[in-house]
Symmetry: C2
Subunit: 114 residues, 2 copies
């Protein structure tokens, strides 16, 4: 019997063992250990969360966009934040690839307009 859950659990383990994941873990630990960087990190997350919530509710306002821009600029002064973003980009590429592979059957089934 095919067990899709067993395979998913294997993929979870593989992801955990990937270089991209280990690099991300390492830089997050460094960010957390540095008070100044961690403060700007938390500020940035908060601003991103607010933006996302507003997008979902369709109430996006200019002030929030501008504030996020300013915090992003501030964050870019911190070398550890730059390193974090680099590692996040790397793992994003991997995650996007995985999603494209795994969920190809779904996009196929919905590609029925043509």
């Amino acid at each position: 019997m095919i067990n899709v859950y067993d395979t998913a659990n294997q993929l979870e383990k593989d992801l955990r063992e990937s270089q991209e994941y280990k690099d991300l873990q390492a830089v997050v630990a460094k960010v957390k250990a540095d008070d100044a960087t961690f403060a700007v990190y938390k500020k940035l997350r908060e601003a991103q969360k607010t933006l996302q919530e507003q997008q979902m509710q369709g109430t996006l306002d200019e002030k929030v966009m501008k504030s996020l821009q300013e915090i992003s600029q501030e964050a870019s002064q911190y070398p550890l934040m730059m390193e974090l973003m680099e590692k996040e980009r790397a793992i994003s590429v991997l995650i996007d690839d995985l999603n494209k592979i795994i969920f190809k059957p779904l996009s196929e089934v919905y590609d029925i307009e043509g």
Copy 2:
């Protein structure tokens, strides 16, 4: 060597073989074969796409919400659309489960506020 891509490809195959996927494929084929149902199906997709685009741009308006509501109500008159939604719910549960399993390492790495 661990190959996360091999595992992802295996998961894609397993998903394709799952009962949830086969059921979805079957009902989509039936929807496509029935002109009246397929017309309302396409109308519903279009309305959902418009709503999503507006959400992303933060320009969600009442008219679009109301129009989607009306089309959803119309769609619910079609037995095949009801069957489609049921099969979509079933596969959504599976997909959510898979995502939770696979990407648990990511939520862990970001759970650093505590």
